[in-house]
Symmetry: C2
Subunit: 224 residues, 2 copies
Amino acid sequence: MTKPDKRKKPKTGTASKRSRLLPDEREKQIVLEAIRFFAEVGFDGQTRELARRLGITQPLLYRYFPTKQDLVDRVYKEIYLTRWNPEWQDWIEDRRQPVAARLKRFYAEYYPAIVNHDWMRIFFQAGMRNVGFNQRYLKLVRERILLVLCAEVRRELGLPSVAARPVSPAELELYWGLHGSIVYDGIRQYIYGTAVPPDPVAVTNAKIDIFMAGIKAAVTNLLK
Amino acid sequence: MTKPDKRKKPKTGTASKRSRLLPDEREKQIVLEAIRFFAEVGFDGQTRELARRLGITQPLLYRYFPTKQDLVDRVYKEIYLTRWNPEWQDWIEDRRQPVAARLKRFYAEYYPAIVNHDWMRIFFQAGMRNVGFNQRYLKLVRERILLVLCAEVRRELGLPSVAARPVSPAELELYWGLHGSIVYDGIRQYIYGTAVPPDPVAVTNAKIDIFMAGIKAAVTNLLK
DNA sequence: ATTCTTGTTTATCAAATGATAAATAGTGTT
DNA sequence: AACACTATTTATCATTTGATAAACAAGAAT
C-alpha cells in the first residue's frame, strides 16, 4: 500500500501550538463538543474524530474521561440536567389564566428547549440504546406536566375531579397525543430531516386550540 | 491472556451440521433476521453477531451480499416496500362515509403497519444516518394521505376548496399534528421503551375525534 | 460409485478503534 | 535562570470488525 513512514511527521504545518487550558475549561470544551458530535453521528462516533474537531489529540480525551462510556454518560447527564425548568409545573397549575393559555405559555418555552438538533438527536440516540434515559425523562413529562394537566382540565371543564375519578391510562394517552402532536415537529425536523414548520409558536398554539376544542367530549366519553 | 490454540477447535459440539439451503431461501432468511437484528442493535451491529443468530458463519453473508452496506440497503428496501398499502389514499377519498370514519379506518390499518418494533426502530435508525429513507417515506404520507385529507376536510366542512385557497404550510402542519399525535405512541413504545397504551384503536379514534372537533375553527382562522 | 456443482466453513488479512505508557512542552515558582 | 508540575502529544498496543481466498462437503448428475 506504500505507506513508508507514517510516523515522524515534521508537523511544521498549522496545528503545532499547544494550547494548555485549565482542566475545567478543557473538560467543559470537550463535553460541549461531544454533545454536538454524538448528536450528529451517534454514540458510535470515533474518539479520534471528536478529538480532531476539538483540535486536540485523541489520548487527551482519556485524561479527562477514563473511558469513552464515561464521556457518553457525561453527555447524557449534561443534556438531562440542563433542559428542564422546574417552574413549568407551576405554570400548568397557575389558575389565574385558562388552561389553554397556560399550555401555550408552557410550550412556548418547552418547544425550543427540546426541539433543536442536539437535544432531539441525543435523545433518540439514547433511545436506540437501552439506557433508561428516555424513561426517566418521560416520567418527568408525565408526572410534572401531563397528569397535572389532566387535573386542571377536569377542573376547568367542570368534570369530576381526578380524586373522585382517577385518570385512566386511556385518558392520559390523549394528553400524550397533544404532546406528541407538538414534539413530532422536532422529530420530523431533526430525525427525519424534513423542512421546518414556518411559525412553530403559531402552529403549536393552533394544536392546543384544537385539543382543547375536543378534549371535553373525549374525557366525558371515557368517564361514562 | 492464555489463549493457546484458538483455531482447530474440534467442533464436536452442536452446530456441526451444514444446512445448505437454496440460495433464495437463504437470502430471504438473512434479510428477515437482518431486519430484526439491525432494528434491535442498530446498523452498527456486527456481521459476526448477525451470522451467529442465523446459525451460519460470517463469511457466508458475503456470498449473498457483497458488502454490509448492500445488506443494510436491502433491509431499507424490504421495510419500505412491504408496509405501504396503495389503497389507503382511496380510503381517505371515499366519500360514502364522513371524514372521521375514513380516518379511523385508515389508522386502524396504518397503526399496526408501522407501530411495531421492527418498523419503528429501522425507521429511526435510518433517521440517525443521513439516508433519504425517511424523507421519501414522509413524502408518501404527506402527498397520499395528509394533503388529500386537507382537501376532504375542507370539502366536508364547507370551507373554500384547496383549488381556490391552496393549503398553506401552517395548515398542513395541523394534519402532521394529528398524525404525530397517533404515531407518537409507537415512538414512546419502541424507541423510548415505555409501557404500551391499553387499547390503541380506541385511543386513536378518540384522537381523531378530538382533531375533528377543532380543525374547522383552526382552518377557518388560517384562511382569514 | 464417481464426478461435478456450489453452498458453506475455515483460516486469515487489513483497517479501524478504544485505550495506555512514555516523552514533550507550557506555565508558574523559587 | 533553573526547577517543578502537569497539560498535551507521540508512539504503540490489543481487540474488533468488514472483507477475502481457499478448503470442505451436501446433493445432483452421470
